[in-house]
C-alpha cells in the first residue's frame, strides 16, 4: 500500500468527507477526485474564477491531514522558482569564510574553498522539489494554481515531472518522491493548456453551483445569517449570472457579499442595500454602473 490513509473508500465517501469539511462538491467533482486519488493521477480543474478550484486542494489537505504545497503560477515562472535554486549569497559567504579562514593559517580539511557548496545545505527547495521531498511521511497535496498564467515552456517541464516524479539536480543527483504527491492543477482558462498535459489528468470543469448547492455553501460558510436573507442573496446572485456582464460573480463573491451583509446586520435584501454593496459582487466598474440601474428590477424578479 503506497498510501495507506490518503484515499477515499468510494465516490460517495469522497463527497461526504468534503461536505464534512464544508466543501459542497457536485457528483462529478466527487467522482473525479476519488478517481484521481485512487489512480494516482493529477486532477485538472477548470472553471470561471471564484468557483472554488483552489479550495479543493485546501480541503483535501485537511481531509487527509497532510501538508499542502502550493505553486502559484505566474508569467515567467521558471525552474529556479518552481523546483530549486542555489542559495548564492550563502554560497559566496561560505567561500569567503573558508578562504579567510585558510589565510589565517589554520588549514583544516580541503584547500578548495568551493568544495561542498553544491550540497543540500545550500539548496533552496521550491514547491515542486518540496513535493517530492523524502521528509514527508505521507503523500502531500501539491497544488499547481492557475497554470494558465505560466508560460508554455513551463508546461513541458511539468509534463516531464508528472511522468516520473523525479527531479535531477546535476550537482547532487536524482531525487525521487517516496510518497507520490496528490496533484491538483487549476486553470482559469485565459489560455488553452496543452492537450498532452490534460490527457494525463482527470479533467473536471467546475460550473457555477445550482441554487440549492449555493445556498448550502452560504449556510455553511457564513453561519449566523438569517435564513431568509441567505435565500435572497443566492437567488439574486443566480439571477445575476444570467445578465450580460463582463465578469459574472463566482461563489467567492457570493460569500464575500453574504459576509458583508451579515456585518451590515441586513435582514432582507432591498434595492438600496444591494446598490451600495455591488462592489463586492462585481469586479468591473462598467458592470457596477450597469447594475446600479438594473439591480432593483433584477432583485424584484429574484425574490418576487
Amino acid at each position: 500500500m503506497p498510501r495507506p490513509e490518503a484515499r477515499f473508500e468510494s465516490v460517495e465517501a469522497a463527497g461526504e468527507k468534503l461536505a464534512s469539511l464544508d466543501y459542497i462538491a457536485d457528483d462529478g467533482l466527487a467522482t473525479g477526485l476519488f478517481l484521481a486519488v485512487e489512480m494516482g493521477k493529477p486532477l485538472f480543474l477548470e472553471g470561471e474564477p471564484g468557483v472554488g478550484k483552489t479550495e479543493v486542494a485546501k480541503v483535501l489537505a485537511r481531509a487527509f491531514d497532510t501538508p499542502l504545497i502550493r505553486l502559484q503560477c505566474y508569467e515567467g515562472l521558471d525552474i529556479n522558482h518552481a523546483v530549486y535554486e542555489w542559495n548564492y549569497p550563502r554560497q559566496l559567504l561560505a567561500i569567503q569564510a573558508r578562504s579567510t579562514g585558510s589565510q589565517g593559517g589554520s588549514r583544516t580539511g580541503s584547500d578548495n574553498p568551493t568544495q561542498d557548496i553544491f550540497t543540500e545545505e545550500f539548496l533552496l527547495k521550491r514547491p515542486l522539489l518540496q513535493a517530492i521531498d523524502r521528509s514527508h511521511d505521507s503523500a502531500p497535496i501539491l497544488l499547481i494554481d492557475e497554470l494558465d498564467r505560466a508560460d508554455e515552456e513551463f508546461e513541458s517541464f511539468l509534463l516531464e515531472l508528472l511522468s516520473d516524479f523525479q527531479v535531477t539536480i546535476p550537482e547532487i543527483g536524482t531525487l525521487q518522491a517516496e510518497h507520490r504527491p496528490i496533484i491538483i492543477i487549476t486553470s482559469n482558462r485565459t489560455r488553452e493548456i496543452h492537450d498532452a498535459l490534460k490527457r494525463r489528468c482527470v479533467y473536471h470543469w467546475i460550473d457555477y453551483p445550482s441554487i440549492e448547492k449555493e445556498l448550502e455553501i452560504v449556510r455553511r460558510k457564513v453561519p449566523g445569517l438569517e435564513d431568509e436573507l441567505s435565500r435572497e442573496i443566492v437567488a439574486f446572485v443566480q439571477r445575476l449570472r444570467d445578465q450580460d456582464l463582463y465578469k459574472l460573480p463566482g461563489v467567492a463573491e457570493t460569500l464575500d457579499w453574504a459576509a458583508a451583509l451579515g456585518h451590515l446586520d441586513a435582514v432582507r435584501l432591498d434595492p438600496e442595500v444591494v446598490v451600495s454593496t455591488l462592489g463586492l459582487l462585481l469586479k468591473y466598474q462598467d458592470d457596477v454602473d450597469k447594475l446600479k440601474v438594473e439591480a432593483p428590477s433584477i432583485l424584484k424578479e429574484a425574490i418576487g
Binding site: 465516490v11 457528483d27 467522482t31 529556479n80
Partner: protein, 393 residues
C-alpha cells in the same frame, strides 16, 4: 471486468473519435481501470468517470453528455433498440449545412471578378510603381488585385517587442547573473573571475485583428482577409488571433491557419455569415470583450480594428465597449479605409464615439498604407500610451 463491457468501451471511444473528440487509447484504458473502482451500477458515476477521462475541454462537455446518453442507452440494455450506427457528428447538423450554403453563395459573390492570374514577371513594375502604391483598393482591376495579393503575401510582418519576466545571460546586461557566476567560480577554486550579467528576455507582442466585413466595408473585405492571412503567417501563428464581425463576431484564426490562401479565404468566408449585413460594431466588440478578451488579450497585446465606423446599433454601446477594450490592451489601432481620402473627417457617429479611446487612427486603402501599418506594428513604444496620438490625415 466482463469483456463485452470492454468491447463496448472501445466502441464508445471510437464513436467519440468519429465525432471529433481527440480520445486516445491510453485514455480509454485509463477509463477501463477507473470503472473497476466506481460503482458500475450507478449511471451517474460511470458518466462522471468517463467524462473525467475522455473530455478535456469545456466546449466538449455538452456534446459528450449527448453522445454518452445515446450510446449507453443503446448498448447497455441489450441491443434491442435498432439505433443508427453512430450519433450524428456536429457537422451533419442541418443548420450548419444551411449556413454553409448561405456563405458559399456569399463568398462566391464576394470573389466574383477575381480571375486567378499570376503576374510574377510584371511584379517589379507594379511594386515600384508609385501610382500602384497609392491606388485605392476599391478602384483596382482584377489584375491589379491579384498582384496586390502577391505583394501582401510578401510583406514582412513583425510585432514590436515586450520585456518578459524571464532573464537570460547577456554580456551587456544591467544586472549581475549570480547563478552563472557561482558556477564559474566553482571551477576556479571559488574566485569569481568573470562577472556574468543578465538582462530580461524579450518576446513579440501578441496581435489581435478584428475586421468589419459588413455592407459598407464589403469591397475591402477580401483584401482585409488577405492582409490577415499574411499577418497571421508572417507574425508566427501562435501569437495572432483574427476575428471578423458584422452583426455578430466570428473567430477565423483556425481557418486562416490553413496554408493555402484561397482555401483559407474560402473557409473564412464559410464562417462569416455577415458579408454585407448591417454593422453592429458595439455589440460585436461586446461579445469579444466578454468571451474572448480574457483569453486573447494576454501579455501586452496589440489590438487592430478595421472598420469605417458605420454603426447601426447603439453608438453608446460602441463607446462603452471600445473603452473597455482600450483599457485592456497595450495599444489600440483603428484602421479606416476612408482616413486616407482627402478631406475626410471622422464625423460618422460611431467613429466619433470610438476616437477618444483609439491610440492610432490610420488609413487602410492602398498598399502604401498597409506598409505603413507593418512599420507601425514593428515599432510600437514599449509604454502604454495615456494620450491618443493625433488622428492621421
Amino acid at each position: 471486468m466482463a469483456s463485452p463491457f470492454l468491447a463496448n468501451l472501445l466502441l464508445f471511444g471510437r464513436t467519440l473519435r468519429r465525432a471529433g473528440f481527440p480520445v486516445s487509447h491510453s485514455q480509454t484504458l485509463d477509463l477501463a481501470r477507473a470503472l473497476e473502482l466506481v460503482d458500475i451500477g450507478d449511471r451517474e458515476q460511470v458518466f462522471h468517470a468517463a467524462r473525467g477521462f475522455l473530455v478535456s475541454r469545456r466546449e466538449e462537455l455538452a456534446l459528450f453528455a449527448l453522445l454518452f446518453d445515446r450510446f449507453w442507452r443503446k448498448h447497455s440494455i441489450g441491443d434491442s433498440a435498432p439505433g443508427r450506427k453512430a450519433p450524428p457528428a456536429p457537422r451533419h447538423d442541418p443548420e450548419a449545412i444551411q449556413r454553409f450554403r448561405d456563405v458559399s453563395y456569399l463568398s462566391a459573390r464576394a470573389g466574383a471578378g477575381d480571375t486567378e492570374i499570376e503576374l510574377r514577371d510584371r511584379s517589379q513594375t507594379y511594386s515600384d510603381d508609385e501610382v500602384f502604391q497609392h491606388k485605392d483598393f476599391s478602384r483596382m482591376s482584377a489584375e491589379e488585385l491579384a498582384e496586390l495579393r502577391r505583394l501582401i503575401l510578401e510583406m514582412r510582418w513583425r510585432a514590436s517587442l515586450r520585456r518578459t519576466r524571464r532573464w537570460s545571460e547577456d554580456r551587456g546586461g544591467s544586472r549581475v547573473y549570480l547563478r552563472r557566476m557561482l558556477r564559474d567560480a566553482a571551477k576556479h577554486g571559488g574566485a569569481p573571475l568573470h562577472l556574468a550579467r543578465r538582462s530580461p528576455k524579450t518576446k513579440r507582442r501578441p496581435v489581435v485583428l478584428l475586421a468589419d466585413v459588413s455592407g459598407s466595408m464589403e469591397k475591402y473585405a477580401r483584401i482585409i482577409l488577405q492582409f490577415f492571412y499574411g499577418a497571421l503567417h508572417g507574425l508566427g501563428a501562435g501569437d495572432v488571433e483574427c476575428f471578423v464581425f458584422g452583426t455578430r463576431l466570428t473567430r477565423i484564426t483556425s481557418s486562416l491557419r490553413i496554408r493555402n490562401v484561397d482555401r483559407a479565404l474560402e473557409d473564412a468566408a464559410g464562417e462569416i455569415l455577415d458579408w454585407s449585413g448591417g454593422t453592429r460594431i458595439g455589440e460585436s466588440l461586446g461579445i469579444f470583450n466578454r468571451h474572448w478578451a480574457r483569453r486573447v488579450l494576454r501579455r501586452g497585446a496589440v489590438v487592430v480594428i478595421v472598420s469605417d465606423g458605420w454603426e447601426r446599433g447603439d453608438v453608446a454601446d460602441l463607446g462603452r465597449e471600445i473603452r473597455h477594450l482600450h483599457h485592456r490592451c497595450h495599444r489600440l489601432i483603428w484602421l479606416n479605409p476612408h482616413v486616407g481620402r482627402p478631406g475626410y473627417e471622422p464625423l460618422v457617429e460611431g467613429m466619433v464615439a470610438a476616437l477618444p479611446y483609439i491610440d492610432d487612427f490610420l488609413p487602410i486603402h492602398n498598399l502604401q498604407s498597409l506598409r505603413a501599418l507593418a512599420d507601425a506594428l514593428a515599432s510600437l513604444p514599449s509604454r502604454k500610451s495615456i494620450r491618443r496620438l493625433p488622428a492621421a490625415r
